[in-house]
Symmetry: C2
Subunit: 435 residues, 2 copies
C-alpha cells in the first residue's frame, strides 16, 4: 500500500487554482512531510485563453492541457482539484472525477449547495472522498467542524456572516452614514464587488454557503431554493441611524436554527445586538457562530474569500486526502444526510421585527398601529416617533416588536397599509438576539 | 477488520469524566451512527470516595473499579479516556494505556504540556493515537486546526485568551473600576476561581495551554518552564483607566510568535487595541487568534472550560479514534516536532511598553525620563502627566513606547529607578498590536 507520491490534477487556472498550484510548488517539502510523501502536480486543465498566462511558462507548458480527455485519462492523478466555479461544467467534471475513482477537492459552493448530496453519495459508492472546506468561509476551518469536532453536539443554530462583499458595504454604510448605491459603486471600483453584483447583494452567494453548512449541521439536504433570501439593497442610512439608537448593528445574516422539530433557514439583513461578537465583524471578514447543546456558543472568524486564504483550505483538503490514500483507506467518515428534519416555511419562523413607518403627524396614529399589531398578538418592545417633514405634516415611527410569527407580522403589515394615517411602510427588518 | 463495537474505559469520575460518561449514555445512538458502531463504556476507574456519587448507581456499580490492575487488564477496552487531571498519576496511566496499545483521549493540559512529545512518540511507536483536543480551550476546536486545517500555513503568531478565571476577573476590573483582590474574592465565592487561585492568576494554566498550542503550531516541543509567565495580580484599577484613555483593553495574553528565526513564547497581561476582536472577548470566554501566511488572521472563540463544552471535545476525540479503529488504521497523521526552532530568551523579545511612573511634580522630570529611554533607543509614542497628590507634590506620568527590545527596556527601568525625580515605577505592562 505504501506509495512513492500522490498525483494531483487541477481543473482551472483562475485566481484560486493558480494560487493552489503555487502553494503546492513553493511548500512542497513541508507538504510532503505532512502528507507522508511528495504531492506531485501532474496535469492542469485550462481554457485556451489561459495558456497565455505567465504562470503557464513558470510552471512548465507540459503540465497544461485544454483537452478534457487528456486530463481525465492521465493515469497518475489520485486527487482532482476543481476550482473553476459555477454549476456547469464543474458538476460534470466532479461527477467524472468521482466516477473514475479519484478523490476530489473543490472550492465550488454553488455545485456543492445544489448537488452536494448526490456528489457525496457518488463518492461513498466509489470509496473515495469529496472534500469542500474552501466552499464556505475561505480559509476559516468550518466544514470539518460539523463532520468531526462538533459531532457530539445537537446543533441548535448557526448565525453567519458569510459574504464579504455585503459585509464590506454594510460596514461602510454604518460608518459613513452613506447610502447603498453610492457605497456599492465604490466597492465595485475597488474590486470588492463585481460588475454584476446580484449574487452577492441579493444574498444568493450566502444562501449557497448556508445550504452547505446547514446540511452538514442538521444532517439533511437543504437545497438553496428552499432558503428564504433577501438582499441588502433596501437598507437606507436611516435604518442604520435607528439601529444605533436602539443599540443594534445591521448585518446580512445567514441563519439556520432549530425550531420545534423543523429548521428555519434564511438569509436576510438583521438587527443584531451592538455588543455581540458578530456585530464587531467588519469589512470583508466572515464569522460563523454555532450554538450546540454541549459547546454552547463557538465562533469562527477570518477572511472568507481571496486566493491565499482559500488556497489554505484547498491544500489542507488535498493533504487530508493524501494522508488517507497513504494510510490505505479510501475515505474518512461518511456524511449522514438522513435526519429528515424539514425546512419550515418562512411564514412559520418566529423572530422580532423592526418597522419604520411614515405616517401623518397627528395624534392617535401610533395607537392605531399598536392596535393593528395587537390584533395579531404582536406586542411592541419599544417605539420612537420623530417628525419627518414639518411642511408635509408627516412623522416617522419606528417600532421594535417582541418575538412574533412571520405570518402574523405579514398579515399585520397588510392591515397597516390600509390605515388612513399611514403613508408608507418605509422598511421592515428582522431582529435577531443570537441566542 | 469490521468491528461490532468499540469499548471505552474512563479514568476518573470528576465533573469532566462524569459528563463524558453521561454523553456516551444519552447520545449513544447518534454517536454510534457517527463512529460506525456502538461505543460501549466498559469500565470506569475511580477513587474509593467516588463510589458514593449518585452517578455510580445510575450507571451501574459493575462498571466501576478502584483497582488499577482490573482497569488495565479489562480486555474489551479500545480507547482509554483520562480526565483525572494533574501530572501524577495521570502520566503513568497514559503511558500504561499507550504501552498497552490502547488509543488514548485526554483533557489533561498539564501532562500534555510537560510530557506531550514523549507521549506522542510512544503512541506512534505503538501504532495508536493520542488525542487531546479538550486540553486547550474546552469545547473550542483548536488542536486539530494545527494538525489538519492550517497545515499549509507557516504560522506567524498565536495570540490567545485561554484562561477563563483571569479573563472573568479582568472583565470585572475593567467594567467596575474595581481592584484585583476584591474581584478575586468575589470570583472565588461564585466558583469562578479556586480557593488556591495561583495556577490561574499567575498564568501557569495559560502557559500549559500555550505550550501545547505553540508546540503544534511551530513543530517543536516547547516546555512550560521555557515560557515567560507573569500573572495579573499587579494590575490596578488605575491601569485600566489609563488603558481606556489610550484606547486599549487589558487582557492576560498567551503569545507565541515567530521573530527572526526563533519564537517568542510568553504569558503576561497586555494592552491590546480596544477595537480588536480579542478585546471584546469578555467574562469566562476564551479566544485564540492565529496568524498564518495564507489565512492571515483566523479566530476561534467559545467557552474554554466547564464540563459540557469539555465533554464535547473529549467525545469528538473518542469518535475520531473509533472511526480510525473501524477503518482499520491505527492512527491519523503523525505530529512533527522536529523543526528545531528555538524559544527566544525573554530579553530578546520586541514589543511596545506601557509605563506608569510616580514622580515629583516639578518641571523637567518627563524630559529626564525621555532622555533615559532615548539612551536605550526607546522612543515614546505617547505620554500623559497627571497630578497624583497635590499635597505631596507628586504626579503620575504614563508613557507608551514604540517597539523596543525587552533587554533595553529592562536596562532603562534600572536607570529610571535611580532618577532623583522618580518616586516609583508603579507598573509596567507590554502593549501588543496583534498583527
Amino acid at each position: 500500500m505504501k506509495r512513492d507520491n500522490i498525483g494531483i490534477g487541477i481543473l482551472g487556472l483562475g485566481t484560486i487554482a493558480g494560487q493552489v498550484a503555487r502553494v503546492l510548488g513553493d511548500k512542497s517539502e513541508i507538504l510532503a512531510a505532512q502528507a507522508g510523501c511528495p504531492l506531485v502536480l501532474r496535469k492542469v486543465k485550462v481554457l485556451p485563453q489561459d495558456l497565455n498566462r505567465p504562470q503557464v511558462d513558470e510552471m512548465g507548458r507540459h503540465l497544461f492541457t485544454t483537452d478534457d480527455e487528456e486530463f481525465f485519462s492521465e493515469p497518475g492523478i489520485d486527487i482532482v482539484v476543481e476550482a473553476i466555479g459555477g454549476e456547469h461544467p464543474a458538476l460534470e467534471y466532479l461527477e467524472r472525477a468521482l466516477a473514475g475513482g479519484k478523490h476530489v477537492v473543490t472550492s465550488n459552493k454553488e455545485v456543492i449547495a445544489k448537488h452536494g448530496t448526490e456528489l457525496f453519495d457518488l463518492a461513498e459508492r466509489k470509496g473515495v472522498e469529496l472534500r469542500c472546506e474552501a466552499s464556505v468561509g475561505g480559509g476559516i476551518p468550518l466544514i470539518s467542524r460539523f463532520r468531526y469536532d462538533l459531532v457530539a453536539n445537537r446543533i441548535k443554530g448557526i448565525y453567519a456572516i458569510i459574504n464579504g462583499t455585503t459585509n464590506y458595504i454594510l460596514t461602510r454604510m454604518a460608518r459613513e452614514d452613506a447610502d447603498f448605491s453610492s457605497v456599492l459603486a465604490e466597492a465595485q471600483q475597488l474590486g470588492y464587488a463585481e460588475a454584476n453584483p446580484e449574487n452577492d447583494v441579493e444574498g444568493i452567494d450566502a444562501a449557497y454557503k448556508l445550504a452547505i453548512l446547514a446540511s452538514l449541521a442538521f444532517h439533511t439536504h437543504i437545497r438553496p431554493e428552499n432558503i428564504y433570501c433577501e438582499g441588502i439593497s433596501r437598507l437606507s442610512s436611516r435604518d442604520f441611524r435607528y439601529a444605533r439608537e436602539f443599540g443594534f448593528a445591521i448585518k446580512l445574516l445567514a441563519i439556520a436554527k432549530e425550531n420545534g422539530g423543523g429548521i428555519e433557514v434564511r438569509v436576510h439583513p438583521a438587527f443584531i445586538p451592538e455588543g455581540s461578537l458578530l456585530a464587531s465583524v467588519d469589512g470583508v471578514y466572515n464569522a460563523v457562530l454555532v450554538v450546540g447543546d454541549l459547546v454552547d456558543k463557538v465562533l469562527f472568524f477570518g477572511q472568507g474569500a481571496g486566493p491565499l486564504p482559500t488556497s489554505s483550505a484547498v491544500v489542507a483538503d488535498i493533504v487530508s486526502s493524501a494522508r488517507e490514500i497513504m494510510a490505505g483507506i479510501g475515505r474518512g467518515a461518511g456524511i449522514d444526510f438522513s435526519s429528515g428534519i424539514a425546512v419550515k416555511p418562512m411564514t412559520d419562523i418566529e423572530t422580532r421585527y423592526y418597522l419604520r413607518l411614515n405616517i401623518d403627524d397627528r395624534p392617535g396614529v401610533l395607537a392605531q398601529i399598536a392596535s393593528v399589531l395587537g390584533e395579531r398578538d404582536i406586542s411592541i418592545s419599544s417605539a420612537i416617533q420623530k417628525v419627518a417633514d414639518k411642511a408635509a405634516h408627516t412623522a416617522e415611527i419606528v417600532v421594535i416588536t417582541h418575538p412574533a410569527r412571520e405570518s402574523a407580522m405579514q398579515a399585520a403589515l397588510d392591515n397597516l397599509v390600509s390605515l388612513s394615517g399611514l403613508r408608507e411602510v418605509s422598511n421592515f427588518i428582522r431582529v435577531e438576539i443570537l441566542s
